[in-house]
């Protein structure tokens, strides 16, 4: 249980450029995210457990699907599968569509930005991405997790065992942290039944 609370949010970063991958990795790590980087859209889908031509995850990974990645940040311009193609694949997949997606591009083309947002992207960053952009990521993660949580709660309404207030870690872990991680912990406590229950029931 402690592990679930302390674990940082996991971001999957997709960029074909090696210097850019290094930069985005550093920006995310500095902002306390756990980071996985891949160099193409197809590798991203592979990491997420989605085959190129299927809408179902690989069976062995399906149990961890929802906790594996909290957000995907992808470059727009990539050879083969573009960031836009990747976004569409994610939003078409019932397993992945709730993961927030952020698109990055060095070209400031309004029609491109709008197309990505219409397709379900949560945010669009102009490259080079800056440290100040990183603060825009957490709200999207928290929003998507709350949404999932409410859906889960509705599914479990008949379950009389669902009681958040008995979480024993809520009092003793809140004294020595910054206001930022306070916020983080508070939200984690809320979503805890969601992440724990599937494993135990």
């Amino acid at each position: 249980m402690a592990v679930a609370i302390e674990a940082p949010f996991h971001v999957l970063a997709v960029d074909d450029s090696l210097p850019d991958r290094k930069l985005i990795e550093r920006l995310l790590k500095t902002s306390s995210f756990q980071v996985t980087t891949v160099d193409s859209g197809s590798k991203a889908l592979e990491f997420l457990g989605l085959h190129d031509h299927e809408d179902s995850p690989i069976s062995t990974q399906s149990d961890q699907q929802e906790v594996a990645v909290n957000l995907i940040i992808t470059d727009y311009c990539m050879p083969g599968m573009t960031g836009y193609d990747l976004l569409k694949k994610i939003k078409e997949s019932s397993y992945l569509r709730d993961i927030p997606v952020v698109i990055m591009s060095s070209d400031n083309i309004p029609s491109r930005i709008n197309r990505c947002l219409e397709e379900g992207a949560d945010e669009f960053f102009l490259k080079p991405v800056r440290l100040s952009d990183m603060s825009k990521l957490k709200p999207h993660i928290l929003k998507s997790r709350c949404k999932e949580h409410y859906q889960q709660e509705q599914n479990l309404q008949s379950n009389s065992e669902s009681n958040n207030s008995s979480n024993p870690t809520s009092e003793n872990s809140s004294s020595s942290t910054s206001s930022n991680s306070h916020k983080r912990k508070a939200v984690d406590e809320e979503i805890l039944p969601h992440t724990i229950r599937p494993r135990h029931s």
Binding site: C77, P79, S106
Partner: protein, 147 residues
């Protein structure tokens, strides 16, 4: 004393790179991201940029030597170089890439070849300075005992 002299030499070099417009504030962003958890971050990114840039410039020469130039392909390589230049704050190279892309759109082989020469000169000038910078950093680090 040696470390102090090397440090002022390094600062002068970097300040000069800013003053000449080779670098912009994105490079300061990189410097900000370097700390004790990533002590070699700037040199790592700079090295990746130098390797990546060299690869792209070689590829651009090859593409422009072909009898039938595929300008879309050339443009995508220039786009890559522009992207990694922007990421390290290599302002001058980045700006030349912007001109280069205009010649790609115009399907101007002469324009592309001229701009390739320019971007090559600018890139290798920058690379030399980056290498001098990294060398000075190494010499400064060598002045202090290791943990």
């Amino acid at each position: 004393m040696a470390a102090a002299a090397l440090t002022s030499q390094l600062n002068a070099l970097v300040n000069n790179m800013f003053a000449m417009g080779l670098l912009d504030d994105q490079f300061q962003q990189l410097q900000m991201l370097q700390d004790s958890t990533a002590p070699d971050f700037v040199s790592e990114v700079v090295t990746l940029f130098c390797d990546d840039g060299e690869r792209i410039i070689c590829e651009l020469s090859r593409q422009l030597e072909k009898p039938n130039v595929d300008f879309d392909r050339v443009d995508s390589y220039v786009h890559q170089l522009k992207g990694s230049s922007a990421s390290v704050g290599a302002q001058k190279v980045k700006n030349t890439c912007i001109q280069f892309r205009e010649f790609c759109q115009q399907r101007s082989r002469d324009g592309c070849l001229k701009t390739l020469d320019l971007v090559r000169t600018e890139f290798y000038d920058l690379r030399n300075k980056f290498q001098a910078m990294l060398q000075l950093e190494q010499q400064i680090q060598a002045c202090y005992p290791k943990h």
